[in-house]
Symmetry: C2
């Protein structure tokens, strides 16, 4: 084998020169084919076919087409995932469905490591359920102890967006189900980043994001998974025409489509979704297991380099790579300013309050060289306090 598969996957992306991109956990980069797909979708499918695109260009089926591709990455059976709407809205759908399936229970249990929007969405969903539910939020380490017979839904994000801490999805799902709770897993930082097997862990619901490790472009649609035996029992709260059993019959009453299709709502943003559809094809080149192994190798290397070069930074992520998602976070009191200086020098990570410098590792387009480059620039930024120089202040003032 002359070329490593990850050299081949890297070649699928348009990466700006002079940049090391460690923020694919926020927004994945542009796959070359996605650029061509969007151009074709706009010029030919929209421009030439016009309304005929709904049938001739596969638009009507696109949410399921994309859903099937995502299903393969998260261990979901065919016909259990549909793409469309934002992650937040998919979570709202899942929560409402789960609460209606478990109507005798009153608690939604989540943790402080969840992405805040999930907690906000839960507030709205519980208000909508209007049956005196409680949103109980405990620290991540206390989740297991808080699972009891009052819990209707255990709603967690597998990978902590700040620290990369990984929940044990299999164990927590089993524990929750043993006391009669349902589970909703947010896979925002999991899908495309590490192997997920929803079928194996017997998850009830899952949602996730199209624009992070799946590289679908800014604001790419999210997705929702429902375990097949649940799907037919759900009356969607967001009951839109494309989730109707016969959308073009234009009946006056709602009848849910079969299975996962009922979670569709309105007309999906086809141009954005077409970018995601094509971006997912890169995953055909390599297994999630290989991606995970490489992600661990890259992050271990980065952590070792940073700890050797930058003693002022302290690891905020779990040290055990098996307990970490595909990112490494460091605490640093000047983290905000330091990250701005780092980005100005072409190494792009991001910052999360109060003091976390966050770096994501996406093996599809990151090389070992990138890791050494990034660690070297970070060392320079920290040791020379580059964010505190007149040159940097001047540069920031004009850009």
């Amino acid at each position: 084998m002359t070329t490593d598969v990850f050299d081949q996957t890297r070649d699928q992306f348009l990466l700006p020169t002079g940049v090391v991109y460690l923020d694919g956990n926020s927004l994945g980069p542009l796959p070359k084919e996605a650029r061509l797909r969007v151009a074709r979708e706009v010029r030919t499918e929209w421009g030439d076919k016009l309304i005929r695109g709904w049938n001739e260009s596969g638009w009507f089926d696109l949410p399921r087409t994309v859903g099937e591709k995502i299903a393969r990455l998260i261990g979901a059976e065919p016909g259990t995932v549909v793409a469309g709407d934002s992650t937040s809205i998919n979570l709202f759908k899942a929560l409402n469905a789960a609460l209606s399936l478990n109507a005798g229970r009153s608690v939604v249990l989540s943790d402080t490591g969840n992405f805040p929007t999930d907690l906000y969405v839960a507030e709205g969903a519980l208000e909508a359920a209007a049956r005196g539910h409680t949103l109980k939020i405990v620290p991540p380490g206390a989740v297991a102890d808080a699972i009891d017979e009052t819990v209707a839904v255990l709603m967690l994000t597998e990978v902590d967006y700040k620290t990369g801490r990984l929940h044990d999805m299999a164990a927590l799902t089993e524990q929750a189900q043993a006391v009669g709770a349902l589970t909703i897993w947010d896979l925002a930082h999991s899908a495309g980043a590490l192997p997920v097997d929803l079928t194996e862990v017997n998850a009830d619901f899952a949602v996730g994001c199209g624009y992070k490790y799946l590289n679908g472009g800014p604001g790419a649609p999210g997705f929702i998974y429902i375990r097949p035996d649940h799907a037919e029992r759900i009356t969607p709260i967001l009951s839109g025409w494309l989730g109707h059993a016969a959308p073009f019959a234009f009946d006056l009453e709602y009848r849910p489509a079969s299975g996962i299709d009922r979670m569709r709502v309105g007309t999906p943003p086809i141009i954005s979704m077409s970018a995601l559809d094509t971006a997912l094809d890169v995953f055909n080149m390599v297994s999630m297991e290989a991606i995970r192994a490489r992600s661990i190798a890259l992050s271990e290397r980065f952590i070792a380099e940073v700890e050797a070069r930058c003693p002022d930074l302290s690891l905020a992520s779990p040290r055990d790579p098996e307990r970490r998602g595909s990112q490494a976070s460091f605490r640093f009191e000047n983290g905000y300013a330091a990250m701005r200086a780092l980005i100005a020098k072409g190494v792009i990570g991001d910052f999360r309050a109060p003091d976390i410098m966050r770096f994501g590792f996406a093996p599809l387009y990151l090389s070992e060289d990138d890791i050494f480059t990034a660690a070297g620039v970070l060392e320079e930024v920290i040791s020379d306090r580059l964010w505190d120089t007149p040159e940097f202040h001047k540069r920031m003032a004009v850009t």
Copy 2:
């Protein structure tokens, strides 16, 4: 003046040769600049700027940027419209907000001329409100008589999607408000098609669609309007992080952003939204009043031609153009087959069960010649029963 303004607006679109497009009420055609905008958004803003696009490319503000452009077309004050999510989901937000503002009332009143998805969404929203609400659906002509003190919300689509019948938004809003009801207007077939003045009619809520007369592309995001004095009183049911007062503080509890911004939910589909943003600029070239006058002229001409040439078709739209949106519909028992044959000959309208042939008139890109061409081809299709010829069956079998 050597060139008519509508020649200039027509030149803003990429229209396939040999096609007369009378289905812009379903999906508007591609503005030339939107094609360039999407290409730039993908290649430069996403590809080169990556995560920095959120600040440097205006992505974060885009839902409001687009909202302000739409506001000008529907008589809404600045700061009262935000784009994002589908029309269905925006309607869900509006309904939930209106029901909470009018908590003492139990009826949502709508009509059989409403687009069915609005009725489906209402079913879900009432279930969510869980306070024993009733969805009361009456024929369009019976709406005024059904407005009484039990009505919490009057929810109507201004222009009937099948027939183009136009509700009197001003009169019905005034009547509803006089008995203490709130109004939600679906502007799906109004925005960009005819003058709307939400401020003048004192509408409470409105929603609408980006991909019909606004030409934003397949599945372009919809929008929501809230009267400014209502907005601050609403706790959104879809409470996502981008509707939070401080999205990047990552607080664990939801605090709504001020005004219309609280109706944002998750991350919007930027690529699709950028097409809509640019498509809206075509409306800077001409007033909605001029568009309306031209739309009436075109539709009156078309109706006259069709009635003269095709006696088997009967007008399903109101004959008075002041009571009609920007479309003309005809009943014809072989309408489905005839429309297929018509489309095969390059005149694109659409069909709505059971027997309606529907034609939309978008003056931005339709000429008088188009109208005569379309009427002539329609005459040929009908008089020669072109859908019933061996040639047509053969053609349909292979395409």
